[in-house]
Symmetry: C2
Subunit: 215 residues, 2 copies
């Protein structure tokens, strides 16, 4: 297992260098099932699709439900079916990346398989890992899935519209996540109502501009 | 991988025979993170703890939050920490099962790691697999995690109290699950309000009585 992970680390690093050569920003979005990854991608495409060239890679065990949702927002989308595997990795991404014209791209969004465990172990060719946690899941999740939170650069707390109806304590969640990853960014959001999307877009645009300047 | 799974199948079958020798009913509860597995175990302990001898095995990557919640309900509970692994399997259950006095037991409940992917591949020493899906996760989950649903004997649709506030279609979910597993049992529930718990308890008691008669 250690050898598999080390070989994936090396492959992902090589793939990320290709993104760097073209000044493309890579984002890996992770969460448990149904937390709102695809809705976040849709909101991002709506907000930034007019100003940036965006490409999405959709990771799913089976089917193309999410890829069709994303493509309907007018951005490029490649579907990867993992055929049972619980995460994406560099080997699976290879053929998808080969299809994408990196010279004609600003932002690559990879939506991982819905799983708070395995995806955290496999480095992807991105610059930032984003984890979506939704309020109905409960604020005890960082204690139970620590690796995922410790590997994240930003946490989207989604389904804030459901906060009055569920047992979720935002302060408790933030405190637990900061113990695992000091200085991490939080964005409170409802992909359903659109609240907080502007804050997410601001964070992403800062990263996009920094990448352009670094070329 | 096929050899690992086959070896686990054989181990789980041997472990289940030990349950059978003592007339113990085994239940494996699976779901994504935060769907309500532990709350379901708590409700079960409250409803049946006075009439049946219940033992719970809690599977978590790390920590003992859930085990402490369950033990507070007055039933026996053994915690297994998988140390990063995304599922329970027969090897991990061995030491926990050795601690349990099967001759003094009616019902063994195993709460799996919160994950809709990997636990479906590893057979456990139980008679029924139960998957909890919560309404905020969305009714498209059977299409995306088909193995989990096809391996289940009953589906608990939890967080029915949130139905007015989320995009979840009960009929769509049931239809999709029945395609994967015809004749499967559904229980609509809110572990929070207690609605539907009686239906779950009825299902479980039928299985408990049948097991006693079969001895």
């Amino acid at each position: 297992m250690r050898r598999v992970l080390a070989s994936n680390d090396a492959l992902a690093a090589a793939q990320r260098r290709k993104l760097d050569e073209h000044g493309v920003l890579g984002i890996n979005i992770m969460s448990g099932p149904g937390a709102g990854k695809t809705s976040l991608v849709e909101r991002t495409a709506e907000a930034l699709g007019g100003r940036y060239r965006i490409q999405v890679i959709e990771g799913d065990i089976q089917g193309d439900l999410d890829a069709r949702r994303v493509a309907a927002k007018g951005v490029g989308c490649v579907q990867i079916n993992t055929q049972g595997a619980c995460h994406l990795d560099g080997l699976m991404l290879g053929p998808a990346l080969a299809e994408i014209d990196l010279g004609n791209l600003d932002l690559l969004i990879i939506e991982n398989v819905g799983n708070l465990v395995c995806p955290a172990e496999f480095v992807l060719p991105v610059h930032y890992n984003v984890t979506v946690i939704s309020t109905p899941e409960g604020s005890d999740k960082p204690a139970k899935y620590p690796l995922m939170f410790s590997k994240s650069d930003a946490i989207v707390i989604n389904k804030m519209d459901l906060l009055p109806f569920v047992d979720f304590n935002v302060a408790v969640l933030k405190k637990a996540v900061r113990k695992l990853k000091p200085g991490i960014t939080f964005v409170e959001m409802s992909t359903k109502t659109g609240a907080g999307v502007d804050q997410w877009v601001t964070w992403l645009e800062q990263k996009l501009r920094a990448r352009r300047r670094s070329r």
